[in-house]
């Protein structure tokens, strides 16, 4: 949509025309080129790889891009302050992951990237995934990486380990790779800037609570705990629980499935008492904490909408475990003679343990004997 230059539009953001058609793509491409320069400067090179200078250039590019985005978004739609902190932290440490010549520091900086991304998740109010990310990724996967890095360190002596290896000191084809990468980034971000503008928010927070209709126990508990003022039969105002004594949730049928009568779209909860009389609770009487928490939402979506995927994920994990065990197993080559020797050694250890009257681990044959 081309809007005429100034005044033709609503006039509340007069430089918008300029920004929309001219400034923003150029800023975008300048930022991409600057970022490429920064990454190129920071990548490990044999003589001199100034990470600090590269990081400053890259940070300037990121700042420029954020300014362009902010101009496009308008001053009312800026993300909150923490977004900038977390994303700068995540991207800066991601840059350090690929530029640090020592693998162990790369892994540590990757943990920092994970923690910063967890912060971004938290801003997006995905609490469950935040904790899952920190526990699974930073806690488990990265520790595995650290183990393997330590296991696979080469060099016969400590001095040799301290020295950087040649392949860690020199990047492979840095210019071509950076160019290709940032060409991709320019393409991706320019499509983002222009192509998806017709996307609209197609769901509201109301739809977010639809799963409440299968969580009868939770809804009943909340309704029983919350209190509301009402006049009783003689006109006296009393405080009563929303769900009165003897009442329970009614059922309703949605798409042929029987569910609890919590109709979030219409904003009505239907309850039924022991005598079978129905009563409707309108939305303005709903307690404030009658909503789906993030963890519940993820769980419901996972179980309700993607049950097969969970099974497949389980199979993938099992296969990966078997594969890892099979791959990493160390074959011990033994000929007949060596087997006899090992057996004799175990036997003598056992007898030695018997003679000394050892208890505990030393009484076990073979422990410590065959290293």
């Amino acid at each position: 949509m081309v809007r005429p230059f100034p005044g033709g539009g609503r006039g509340d953001w007069p430089e918008a025309w300029l920004v929309e058609h001219f400034v923003s793509p150029i800023i975008l491409y300048i930022a991409c080129g600057l970022g490429a320069l920064g990454v190129l400067t920071a990548l490990p090179k044999p003589k001199f790889s100034p990470f600090v200078i590269g990081a400053i250039i890259g940070g300037a590019a990121f700042g420029l891009l954020m300014v362009a985005l902010g101009l496009k978004a308008g001053k009312d739609n800026l993300p909150n302050f923490h977004f900038y902190i977390f994303s700068a932290l995540a991207l800066g440490s991601a840059l350090r992951v690929i530029t640090h010549p020592r693998p162990i520091y790369s892994a540590l900086y990757f943990i920092l990237t994970i923690l910063a991304s967890a912060g971004l998740y938290l801003i997006l109010s995905a609490e469950f995934m935040t904790f899952a990310l920190v526990i699974v990724y930073a806690g488990a996967i990265l520790i595995t990486y650290l183990f393997v890095i330590m296991l696979a360190t080469e060099g016969p002596s400590e001095a040799a380990v301290e020295q950087l290896t040649e392949f860690d000191r020199q990047a492979r084809e840095p210019v071509m790779a950076t160019f290709a990468g940032f060409l991709l980034l320019a393409g991706l971000t320019s499509i983002l800037m222009t192509g998806t503008r017709s996307l609209t928010v197609n769901a509201s927070e109301v739809a977010n609570g639809r799963e409440l209709s299968v969580m009868g126990a939770k809804v009943e508990r909340i309704l029983r705990e919350a209190r509301v003022e009402r006049s009783d039969s003689s006109g006296v105002i009393i405080k009563d629980t929303v769900l009165r004594d003897g009442e329970s949730l009614a059922k309703m049928t949605v798409n042929g499935e029987e569910r609890w009568a919590v109709d979030v779209d219409k904003g009505v909860i239907t309850v039924v008492n022991a005598a079978g009389t129905k009563r409707e609770i309108p939305r303005d009487q709903w307690p404030a904490d009658l909503k789906l928490s993030n963890t519940e939402g993820v769980g419901m979506t996972l179980i309700e909408k993607h049950p097969l995927s969970i099974e497949i994920a389980g199979v993938i994990l099992l296969m990966a475990m078997l594969g890892a065990v099979v791959l990493a197993r160390k074959k011990v080559e033994m000929d007949e003679r060596a087997k006899l020797d090992a057996a004799a050694r175990e036997h003598s250890l056992e007898r030695a343990g018997d003679m000394l009257g050892l208890q505990g681990p030393f009484a076990q044959p073979g422990v410590g004997g065959d290293r």
């Binding site: 991207l91 992951v97 997006l124 109010s125 699974v136 488990a140 595995t144 492979r172 991709l184 475990m321």
Partner: protein
């Protein structure tokens, strides 16, 4: 000219605690751009670094970028499908880490080096 989509504001949960307050808004594009940059950094790292372990770390970086984009879309559409898919991203990442690291250990035992170019004869 509201060219960037606004997430509906949410005053609940940690956003209030993070100082955003009730009126903080979130735009989708900011998150997508951050995810794109992180993906590209991972890609460049995968192409340029020669250490096998760092190459796999860079694939994890790309997984992470996909995760940020998924969570942002999940928030944008106000449902939990994106977050659910991040669980599967985590699963695949864990499986990949287990297998890839087993392979790295195996390759290291063969040639006593983590240099990817030590295996150039596998070009075929």
């Amino acid at each position: 000219v509201n060219t960037l989509m606004n997430f509906s504001t949410l005053a609940q949960g940690p956003m209030g605690a993070l100082g955003g307050g009730a009126m903080s808004t979130i735009t989708l594009y900011h998150y997508l751009v951050v995810a794109c940059i992180m993906f590209v950094i991972g890609l460049i790292g995968f192409l340029t670094r020669r250490n096998l372990i760092i190459m796999f770390l860079c694939t994890e970086l790309m997984f992470q970028a996909a995760g940020i984009a998924l969570i942002a879309f999940s928030r944008f559409h106000m449902n939990h499908h994106g977050e659910t898919f991040v669980i599967f991203v985590l699963t695949v990442a864990a499986a990949e880490a287990a297998l890839a690291l087993a392979l790295v250990v195996l390759l290291f035992r063969r040639k006593e080096t983590l240099d990817a170019s030590a295996w150039t004869e596998m070009k075929g």
